[in-house]
Each structure stands twice: as C-alpha cells, then as structure tokens.
Subunit: 196 residues, 2 copies
C-alpha cells in the first residue's frame, strides 16, 4: 500500500500549502497555480492529485474539519468532570492558538467564498450544530443543567456564542485572547449549570 499512503500524504501537503496561500492572499489568491507554486509542484503534478480548484478547496476545508474533530474526540474520551470536559471541547472549536487561528481564517475565507455552494456549506455547519447539541445533551444526562432551561434555546444560544467568539477572536485577538475566551466560556457554562 505504500503508493496509496504517499498519495494521501501528498494530498495533505497540498492542502496545507493551500491554507498558507489563503492566509497570505485570501481566497482571491487561492488559484491552482499559486497553490502548486507554494507546494513546490508543477501545475501538471498538482492536477494529478486534484483535477479542479473546487475539488482541492473542498478537500482542504474537510481536512480542517477532520483535524478539529480529532482533537475533540481525544478530549471526549478523557476522564474529566462534565463541565470541564465541555469547556475543553469548546476551546478546541474557537481559535486560541496559531494553529487553530489559521484553521479559522481558512474556514472563514472559504465560508464567504462558498456562500452559494449551499450543500457543502450547510453540511459543515450542521456538523457544529449537532456537536453543540451533543454537549448540551451530555450536560443534561450528567444532571448538570439548571432546572427551567429550554434545551432547544440553550443549544441555539451556545452555538451562537461559539461562532460569535470564533469570529471576534479572529478579528480582535488582542481583546479576545485565550484567557478571556476561557473566562467567557466558564461564565456561560456556570450560568446554565448547577453549582459545584
């Protein structure tokens, strides 16, 4: 199987090159030509891996999602108090370091670009939305949620808080730095959970 492995490794390298191009130039600069140059490949060699620009960009975005999912799954299986586990997962969704900030910028640039490509776009967002739903359900199963909450509203609100913070962290990472994001998530979780 070495050939298939090489093929996938090379595809990931190309995807990473496309992230660097998007970070440097925005989606306007994310042409197949520029990405091939950044990856150190000829246009013909790149076309061997991705036959269209859209195929490459969708792959690159899915890799962002795959990496975030991997990080979240690693936390999900840890033995942690429920509120702490939820906090750690939320901190993986929003950008709090150079790596996740880059992912977020790529995601944001791609989202604006892909606005009219509804299928891909919605699929990704439904993924985050259902992930947030799982977190609220998990807190509920662990008897952590306060009484008299409307679960549907809490899912919708937490989803908004997460993406709002992600957006603002990207725009103004000086104000909304890692400590403040942490503080804000703790504040929100405490506001919907029982004490102790």
């Amino acid at each position: 199987m070495p050939k298939i492995v090489d093929h996938n490794v090379r595809k990931k390298q190309i995807a990473e090159a496309s992230w660097r191009v998007i970070l440097e130039w925005g989606m306007e600069g994310a042409t197949v030509r520029n990405i091939a140059k950044e990856a150190g490949l000829s246009l013909g060699a790149l076309r061997h891996y991705f036959s269209t620009q859209e195929e490459l960009l969708v792959y690159a975005m899915n890799l962002v999602i795959e990496r975030a999912t991997d990080r979240i799954n690693k936390i999900a299986i840890q033995e942690l108090p429920p509120k702490e586990k939820v906090l750690h997962i939320l901190l993986e969704i929003v950008p709090t370091n150079a790596e996740t900030m880059a992912e977020m910028e790529v995601w944001f640039a791609f989202t604006a670009y892909a606005k009219h490509k509804k299928e891909f776009f919605k699929a990704h967002h439904d993924g985050i939305y259902s992930g947030i739903r799982n977190l609220i359900e998990y807190l509920n199963q662990q008897n952590q949620l306060r009484k008299n909450l409307d679960k549907e509203m809490e899912i919708e609100r937490l989803y908004a808080v997460v993406d709002g913070i992600a957006l603002h962290a990207m725009i103004d990472s000086d104000r909304l730095n890692k400590d403040r994001i942490n503080e804000l998530f703790v504040y929100h979780i405490d506001s919907i959970c029982v004490e102790g």
Copy 2:
C-alpha cells in the same frame, strides 16, 4: 447645491449596484468594471465618483453601517419598555428580512475580503461592540439587570450571541427564521433581566 445632491445620490446608486454585484457574484466579482455595468455607467463615469475599487467598496460598506445605524437610532428615541427597546434594536442588527439579509451578506463577504485591512475592519467592529455595551449599560441604568451578573462578561456574551445569530441566520435562514431569532433574543434578555 443641486450638483452636490446629485453627486451623493449617484454615489449611493453606485454603492447599491455594488451590493447587487456582491450578492450575485461574491467579492471576486466586485470589480469596478462589473459594478459600472450593473450601475449602467461607463467605466470613466464611475471613476468620476470613485477613483479606486477600494474607495468604492469602503463607501458601500459604510452605507450599510449608516443605514443600520439610522434604523437603530429611530428605535432608540421611541417610548418603549427597556427590555422591548433592547429587543427591537437587536432585531435590527441581525438579518430578519430581505433587506437586512442582503446587507449582512455584503458585510460578510466584505469582512472576509478585508481581513488584512485591519483599520477599517476593526473600526466597524468596535462600533457594534460599543453599541452592545450601551445596551447592557442601558438595561443596568433602568434597573433591569439581575444581581450578581458580570457586566463585562454580559457585554462580551451578547456581542457573541448577536454576531453568531447573524452568521447562522445567513447560513440557514430556514431554521433560524425571524420568529426563532425573536424567541432566542427574548430568551437571552429574560435570562439576564429581572422578571416583570
């Protein structure tokens, strides 16, 4: 003064043409040439009003902000119960009809595009952030806020909720329609305000 009035009217018409181009084609299509065509002007005539693409786009975005500000100011001077006034203002910031949805899409496309043009970008966001600060301060002055809230955290959280909802309404307006947005804001306001 008729000439100056004409000049400004024409600039607004060009800005509105640029919105239509952005909605149809995204920022990639928002070239001076395409905008001139949409506005029914020659390239030379358009250059009479805006000498560069950036000048035109900044003007078009500022017009979005100006219109939203006008709508908000009209509500601010109305005689309304405090919580209701805050609700109505929040509903003007997020997209709940075709007009505000178009504004939001233009803003979103522009934001991704202008990511590296920090000055303009931050100035706009600081405007929304300080507007949200005013709403929380207003609720506080009107003795509507619950005790034991952290005001700075509530400002940051409401800011995130507003932009998160705006983003999600744009992505999935079927789920996050006007009624659900209204319900969510009422839910959030009730969670931070005293009853009655």
